[in-house]
Structure formats: structure tokens, C-alpha cells
Point group: C2
Chain length 316, copies 2
């Protein structure tokens, strides 16, 4: 469930653009007005605002936001304003760059989006970077992480609910065998994770649990500090219980000595229109603190206001 709140009557894109122009005008910037508008429009509406803005003023809304705003607030507004496929393409591209490299961000996009959405991200990547997403990822990652990431981002998983139980059994056995042999990066493990439908994988992991007495993620904790094993566990969580994966990302981001604003921003902007409500429930359940209170306690100013607005605070 999304947390995004829309006003009961949404102003026309040209009205919104006019207001945004006002927010940018003169000395200083009216941040509250920017939040009031953009944090309460859905993807299609934000896209229309962008188009109308460039038609009306001959300028790029994203560039104007970029020059008017700064630091964490700037990043959250810019990322939010982007349409979701373009945003994911941007995040993945950033994650292939040296200074902002992150296998985790790439994995997140690959494993938590629907097949059709992931395809849209790949198309947006072509349009924006004149390259394919998988070629950049393949080029800029290496070793076992690459062996996982390239098929994960290239997958077009079947999304029906049909489950082949005998396949689930045989592949649960394969997982168990490979885990016993500590062959965590075996081609078969990667094949199954990267190609099977989420329903099928779920059945496989359930069978694993029933048959071998432990959740597969538990058996994948042989060495809790091993980065690759952590990664495989996260893949499994993203594919089957994404809200739990995101709860943990938020928990670590907030509990850090010094908040991890990049992670916090990423989760809020990418999930506000999807399942941030469920993630917040999971957070409350796990931490005994409401997510919005935790976020408010760890952030401040316009950045805080924008995050809370996206989390459904206040009137739209």
C-alpha cells in the first residue's frame, strides 16, 4: 500500500507550474510550496507538470529544482520528481559509477520491481544513457556479484501464480545440496534465483523450510559477515518479502551513527507510491517505534518535511 496522499481536487498542471515558478521567484525559495505541490502528485501527474513546465517556460523543471535547492532536500525532491522508471535508471547508473558504486541498489531494482517495470527501466536506460543497463552493470561489476547481477537485471520473470511443485522440490534439494557443499556461487543456485518466477521461488523456499527444518536464509548465514552471503540473503528477501528487506535498510539507515540519508531517501521515494505503508508496519513491528517518528527524530528542516509528506503526513 502506498503512502502518497493526493488532494481531493488536483490542480491542473499549468496551475502547479505557475505555483512552482512562484516558489522559485526572487531571492530565496519557497520550499514549503514546492513540497505542498510535488509531494502530493503521482507519477503521471508529475510527468505532466514536467512537460507543461518545459512547454510554458522553455526550461527544464529538474534543472530549475537542481539550482534552487541543495543537499539532502535537493536529492529527495529531484529523485521524487522523476518518473519511476527514469528514477530507477538513474539510481542504477549511479550505482555503476566508482564513487557511488552499489551492488545493493542494482539488486534492489532488479528484484523488487515487476517484470514489466524492470523492462521500462531498461528502456529508460537506453533513452537516457545510450547504452543498455546490463552492459554497464556487466562492465562495472566483477566476480560473483557480477555473476548474479547481470542475469538478475536481465530477467523477465513469469508473473503468474502457477507453481510446479515437483520442480519446487527438486530445486529446494539443489539449494540444500549446494549449501551443504558451501557452493553458494554455483551456477545452479544463480540460475534458479535469476530465472524462476517469484511464486515458484516462494514455493521452493517453503519446501526447503519444510523439508530441511530451517529457512533457507538461516542456512545461508554460515558466516554472518560474508558479503556475498549477505547479498544472496537479501536477494531472497527482495524476491519474496520485499517489505522485510526494506524495513532492514531503513533500520540500518536510521540507527547508524549519522543517518544514511542516501538509503533513507531512496527507500522513501521509490516505495511511497508502492508499499511504503506495509514497510512502515513492518518497521513498527520490528522496532516498536513508528517509522515516521524515527524518521522525524533523525532528520530535520525541509528534508524532514518532504520525507514525512511522502510518508503520508499532513493534508495533501
Amino acid at each position: 500500500m502506498a503512502t502518497l496522499k493526493l488532494p481531493s481536487t488536483v490542480p491542473s498542471p499549468s496551475e502547479d507550474c505557475e505555483q512552482l515558478r512562484k516558489a522559485f521567484a526572487g531571492w530565496g525559495t519557497n520550499e514549503d510550496l514546492i513540497i505542498q505541490i510535488l509531494a502530493h502528485r503521482n507519477g503521471a501527474q508529475r510527468k505532466k507538470i514536467q512537460n507543461t513546465y518545459s512547454e510554458t517556460y522553455g526550461e527544464d523543471l529538474l534543472k530549475d529544482l537542481d539550482s534552487e535547492l541543495s543537499s539532502d532536500f535537493q536529492r529527495v525532491v529531484l529523485l521524487w520528481t522523476l518518473e519511476s522508471a527514469e528514477r530507477d535508471a538513474y539510481l542504477v547508473n549511479e550505482a555503476t559509477k566508482k564513487l557511488t558504486a552499489s551492488n545493493w541498489v542494482i539488486m534492489e531494482v532488479a528484484c523488487t520491481r515487476s517484470s514489466e517495470q524492470l523492462l521500462c527501466v531498461r528502456k529508460a536506460y537506453h533513452a537516457k544513457y545510450k547504452k543498455s543497463m546490463e552492459e554497464d552493470i556487466a562492465h562495472h561489476t566483477s566476480g560473483d556479484f557480477r555473476k548474479l547481477l547481470v542475469p538478475l537485471v536481465s530477467a523477465f520473470r513469469y508473473e503468474g501464480n502457477e507453481v510446479n511443485m515437483s520442480l519446487a522440490k527438486s530445486e529446494a534439494k539443489t539449494f540444500h545440496q549446494k549449501i551443504c557443499d558451501k557452493a553458494y556461487n554455483d551456477d545452479e543456485v544463480i540460475r534458479i534465483l535469476a530465472t524462476r518466477s517469484k511464486s515458484q521461488l516462494n514455493a521452493t523456499f517453503n519446501h526447503y523450510n519444510d523439508q530441511f527444518g530451517n529457512a533457507i536464509t538461516k542456512d545461508l548465514k554460515a558466516d554472518p559477515e560474508d558479503e556475498y552471503l549477505k547479498f544472496v540473503r537479501s536477494i531472497i528477501k527482495c524476491l519474496t518479502v520485499p517489505e522485510k528487506y526494506y524495513e532492514k535498510v531503513l533500520r540500518l539507515a536510521i540507527n547508524k551513527l549519522g543517518t544514511d540519508e542516501r538509503a533513507l531517501t531512496r527507500v522513501v521515494v521509490t516505495r511511497a507510491e508502492v508499499d511504503l505503508q506495509r514497510i512502515a508496519e513492518e518497521y513498527q513491528r520490528r522496532n516498536s517505534v513508528p517509522l515516521d517518528r524515527a524518521v522525524a527524530g533523525d532528520t530535520s528542516g525541509d528534508y524532514e518535511k518532504m520525507l514525512l509528506a511522502l510518508m503520508g503526513h499532513g493534508d495533501a
Copy 2:
């Protein structure tokens, strides 16, 4: 250039359906009438005929064709009648089955279709088989072939003409190094083949030729009988000069002791709406015999008539 010939005025789908019904009626089947209609309709028109047929008669045209026709003629008509993405999905599915297994067919579909077409094939595969194409391929292939095939079918290559020359140089060097080391199945080799755009690969292979004095396909002939090396050479041909690849498939199919009808049928039906004209030119150039004459010399009856009609013979 396509070889498909359309009539100057195309009958309506219901007229075509009526004629097809007539061709099926009574004892025997009017094969000439079937050819006259179906071999002269493009993909969209054939799709409409299928839909109209099922709306009008409550029956499946493909099933009726299947029961009316037999052997090679049946296969060519059925495959041709399918819309191209559905046909490719069918061919790939067949190629993952034990008795009709073929890494070559899978590779052909992966490497000669446009990115958008390959995507349509993957969608058609979901719809028809309730699974993803890559999961079946990953499940039913193995070893080095699998290492190549899964990323090839999963690729969504960028299709612009932009070329990064320094990248072409460095990746030509990578190829050369790996070939010198006989590391033909190296991850880097596979990464480059499976992810780069066709324009980029073309630049890389041109640079290879200029820099190292041989075409890369020549240097990949260390052991001419090695199946894996043959496969890699074919991938390179499919990605850069598909008409040469197809010319060779036809040449081998026709020159065999006993024609290889499956290969002949596959090339004709999949390329008649695409580039069969260019393939025929290439054939004539390489064999000093026109392709249609070679095909006519090697086939007979309705099968021959259908192939020649698809190759542009006679009036539409």
C-alpha cells in the same frame, strides 16, 4: 528486404476465412488455395484471419490446418501462419525439448531479432508457456552453451548507432588476449558478446581486424571441428552479418545428403518478411546458383510450392 508478395488488393479477413473453409471442405484439401491465401498475407493480416476464423466458426485455424495438412507442408504452413513473436517462442520452446533440442535455434532468435522483437518473443513465451523463456533455456541447457545462451536471450541491447571507439579498442584487445590464451569461454568474452550493442560490436570486430591482421572469426577457428568455437563464430555472424549466417544455414540444409527440411523451413518462414531477399543474393553470390532454383531442386509438391511462394515466386 522481404520476399513476401502481397496482392494489390487484399481480400477482407472474412473473405479469406471463407476461402480457407472451402479449401478444407469435403474429401481432400485444396492445398493450392491455402498457399494462394496464406503465403500472400503479412503478419498483421494473418493474425486478423486467425481471429476472424475463430469468431466466425468457433474453431482454431491452426488446429484445422494441423488436421488438414501433413509432414513438411504442414509444418511450413503452421509456422508461417503464426505471428512472428509467437512463432519464435514456439521455436525456442521446441529447441529446449529433448528430441528437438537445438542451441542453434535459440541463439538465432536471440541474436538476429531486434531488441524490441526479442522482448515480444519473451512476452509471447510467458503467455503461451506460463514460464519465462530464460528459465526454460537455463534449465535445459548446460555448460559453456548455457553460459552464453542465457545472457544472449535476456539481453535488451541498445540499438543506437553511437560507437565508443576507445571501448571498441580495449574490448578488441580483450578478445585478442583471450583468444591467444584459448580462454574462449571467459566471462569477459561472454559479457562483451551478450551485452554490447550491435554497432559497438561491429566497431570492436573491425578494430580487431585492423589491429591484429585477421578477422576475429578466423582467429576463432583454431580447431574447426570444435562445436563451441563454431557456436561463437555463428553468434558473431548473427550479430553483425545475419544474411551470411543464414546463407550458410541454407547451404548446409540444401547440400546435405537428404535435405534438412526443418532448417530450410525455419529460415524461409522467419526471414520472408525480413531479409530473405538479401539472404538469397548472398546465396547466389556464394553458390553461383539462385536460391529458388536450389530450393526447387531439393523439394517437391506442396511444400516446394509454399516455399517458393514465400520466396516471392508467382503472382500474389
